[in-house]
Amino acid sequence: MSASTTDSAMPLEPMPKAGKQGAPAKRQPDIIRPYGDTTGDGMVQVSFTLPVPHDKRAEGAALQLAAKMGLEPALLVHAKPMGPDFTFFVVYGSAKHLVDLREVTVVEREFPLLSPTEVNKAIKSRLRRKLVVVGACIGTDAHTVGIDAILNIKGFAGEKGLEYYREVKVVNLGAQVLVPELVERARAEKADAVMVSQVVTQRDAHIHNTTTMSAAFREAYPAGQVPLLVVGGPRFEEGSAPKLGVDRIFGRGTTPGEVASYLVHALAAPTTKEKA
């Protein structure tokens, strides 16, 4: 196992030392490798389980996988049977892959992610009252999983739901709410945002339900005063919000914190040029 050819492609010159304070921005190489204890050593650790009993062959299999993952040379430092049919491995090795920082692209969320404290503070200072959210599952959908994950204090993925936010007033109407009922309640509560969840729907009922809902709101409210309409569910297409007549769509895995941050972005943004 000699030094692999990729090594020669490494920018081996050490990174320029960051000077004293006020030194010009330090130059970062474009091509990098993982760092174990020496620049350019490429060292990584991985652990995984293979569905084979622990023996010599299993260890060979682990090394083969490591090689295919680009770890060369790879060092099998730990192998332990887990029951009769599985073996757990820890492998250290030098990754032969290079990372080109110039090719890294980052998709930015259109709004910054805020902590609950920041959300409360933003609402308090910019809206100067509680932000009112009315939520419901509309149509025949009885699955409140989605709306509850976002609204209930229990929350989702370790984040508390919107009920937890001191400056947000949540009215959760639950499942199988009729659109007129939702509109009426939104008006009564002076909702800033209306949140609708569609989890389990047949055919394209979620699209139909959503367009019905957005049309009803446009009809019931004077132009420009419709509350922010937000829908969530696993089956909505990203980017179809304008087509559905809503302001924002959230997909699978959305957390309450993201929704809260979006509400601040859309309703209590730090605009300085608000006069008009």
């Binding site: 652990s47 029951g83 699955h143 409140t144 509850d148 209930n152």
Partner: protein, 529 residues
């Protein structure tokens, strides 16, 4: 649990008595309320005891159809069984199932019988419902027999592991493997959202969100599989599920019928965290706890939830308050000390100085306040960041507190908490962690005596004092049921839950003077006929 012989904390017995007296004072009006109401789910559970099961082609259970039909015609305030068994006596249908099917299509006339007719209908109802009670008794005897045969786990705490694939047929081999790896208790997490369904799904289920539906058939399949594994391992493996949400009484009943061994069953969790109506919850809870008491099921309460929503240091006393209330409600419903898996959790921010000492103080306080209860010790979740290495260390310290304070049930912490559903290897590593700590430090209970007026003792006394203050505030709320007022104005966590709001409110019914429920009667009398 030897802490009674040599108490590690120097708590004033008068203070402890005061805390219990306050919990009783806060709880009693709520029990009165529970005794004067019934709910659709209590009535459905009663029909389940009488043997009614199954669902129509749209998966609506027959118990729902029958209770709804009776409610529509004569109301539920007299109990569902009197009109139902009156209809059967009048020959409206040959049996309960047929009656439910006919009721679903609206072709049965229900009435409220009078005089001798009432007595006869109620006698018949009692005879039929008593079969379910006897099945529960039989299952309890079966459990005792199997424990004698296979034995209990060698060590305390018992090791509690979770499976949750959504598919009962995937859960079974996972649960069996977990038991082989060292789990003493298997908990099958329910599908997200089941707590808000006002019916219990039917049959074996293969799809759930982040968990598997609690159904009678799923209970039966899993218990049978774990019976096999218990035999294989020479150790009785306990099975846990969740009696919470809108169908708490029915799920408790199914657990008793299918010999589940532990049930999550908190007195206020549904109210605070699921926005279920407070009265609905307390009525349902009392019935479900009476069933658990009868079935020999150990309940697990959910105090860990308070610490995930609030700061674990500032809110430490809310855990104690909830434990005291849970204890009061549990004992009132007939549960004994050995059945009280009161919960608490390792959730203090590890960045705080002395966080470990505070965890020890809180855990010891619970241990000493409830010396004969198998306390349930829950692992860190809030401060698990995704750094699995740090998480593994934190779990080690969590295990150490468990070992040093004689906890009864230890829910195994996963280093991948909040990252992924645990890998096979995560579970194995987690169990190694538990075994190492119990093996290396289990005996520390002998040597560990926090000095009087040291940090730990002082902190424990402070938390108990705060708990007494909070209980005092609660009992001083206005109205007939101060605890309900306290829940309504946001005393617990940040959630305001008024008694006239919340999910499931429309399923609450005030009992009439002639209310009859043979299940409640037999559970309270301890009779089986």
């Amino acid at each position: 649990m030897s802490s009674r012989a040599k108490p590690l904390l120097d708590l004033d017995p008068a203070t402890v008595r005061q805390a219990r007296a306050l919990a009783r004072k806060a709880g009693r009006p709520v029990v009165k309320l529970a005794q004067s109401h019934t709910t659709v789910s209590v009535e459905r559970a009663t029909l389940r005891l009488a043997g009614l099961s199954g669902a129509d082609h749209e998966r609506v259970p027959w118990v729902n159809h029958l209770v709804d039909a009776v409610r529509a015609e004569v109301g539920l305030e007299h109990g569902v069984t009197t009109p139902v068994y009156d209809a059967l006596r009048r020959g409206e249908a040959p049996d309960l199932l047929t009656l439910a099917q006919k009721a679903a299509s609206g072709s049965v006339q229900f009435r409220l019988p009078a005089g001798r007719e009432t007595t006869r209908a109620q006698a018949l109802a009692r005879r039929e419902v008593s079969r379910g009670i006897r099945t529960i008794d039989k299952q309890r005897a079966n459990r005792d027999r199997l424990i004698t045969r296979h034995g209990d786990p060698e060590q305390r705490p018992w090791i509690y592991l979770i499976v949750a694939t959504g598919d009962i047929y995937e859960d079974i081999p996972q649960a069996q493997n977990a038991a082989r790896e060292g789990a003493d208790i298997i908990a099958v997490i329910r599908s997200t959202g089941q707590s808000l369904l006002d019916y219990v799904p039917e049959g074996a289920t293969r799809e759930g969100y982040a968990g598997t539906y609690a159904t009678q058939e799923n209970f039966r399949l899993m218990r049978a599989a774990l019976d096999e594994t218990s035999k294989e391992l020479g150790r009785y493996i306990r099975l846990t599920n969740y009696a919470s949400g809108l169908c708490m009484p029915e799920i408790a009943t199914l657990a008793g019928l299918e010999r589940l061994d532990m049930m999550l069953n908190d007195s206020m969790y549904g109210i605070l965290f699921r926005d279920i109506n407070p009265i609905r919850t307390f009525v349902d809870q009392r019935f479900s706890r009476q069933i658990h008491a009868r079935a020999g099921i150990i309940i697990n309460t959910g105090e860990d939830n308070y610490l995930t929503t609030a700061d674990a240091v500032e809110a430490a006393h809310t855990v104690t308050v909830s434990q005291l209330l849970n204890e009061y409600f549990a004992k009132e419903a007939g549960l004994e000390d050995w059945q009280l898996g009161l919960g608490h959790a390792f959730e203090i921010n590890p960045e705080l100085p002395d966080s470990f000492r505070m965890e020890l103080a809180h855990a010891l306080l619970a241990r000493q306040l409830f010396p004969d209860a198998p306390l349930k010790w829950m692992p860190p979740t809030k401060h698990m960041t995704g750094d699995v290495f740090r998480g593994y260390l934190l779990d080690g310290f969590f295990n150490l507190v468990g070992a040093m304070t004689g906890q009864g049930i230890l829910l195994v912490g996963m280093m991948t908490e909040a990252v992924v559903t645990p890998f096979l290897s995560d579970r194995d590593l987690a169990l190694q962690n538990v075994r190492y700590v119990l093996n290396a430090a289990g005996g520390l209970t002998e040597d560990f005596h926090p000095p009087r007026d040291g940090f730990i003792q002082t902190r424990a006394r402070q938390v108990l004092g705060d708990a007494i203050d909070l209980l005092t505030d609660i009992t001083q709320e206005p109205g007939k049921a101060p605890l309900l007022e306290a829940i309504a104005d946001g005393t617990f966590g940040l959630m305001k839950r008024p008694a006239d709001r919340g999910k499931g409110l429309d399923g609450v019914v005030v009992r009439a003077d002639d209310y009859d429920n043979p299940a409640t009667t037999m559970l309270e009398e301890g009779s089986n006929r």
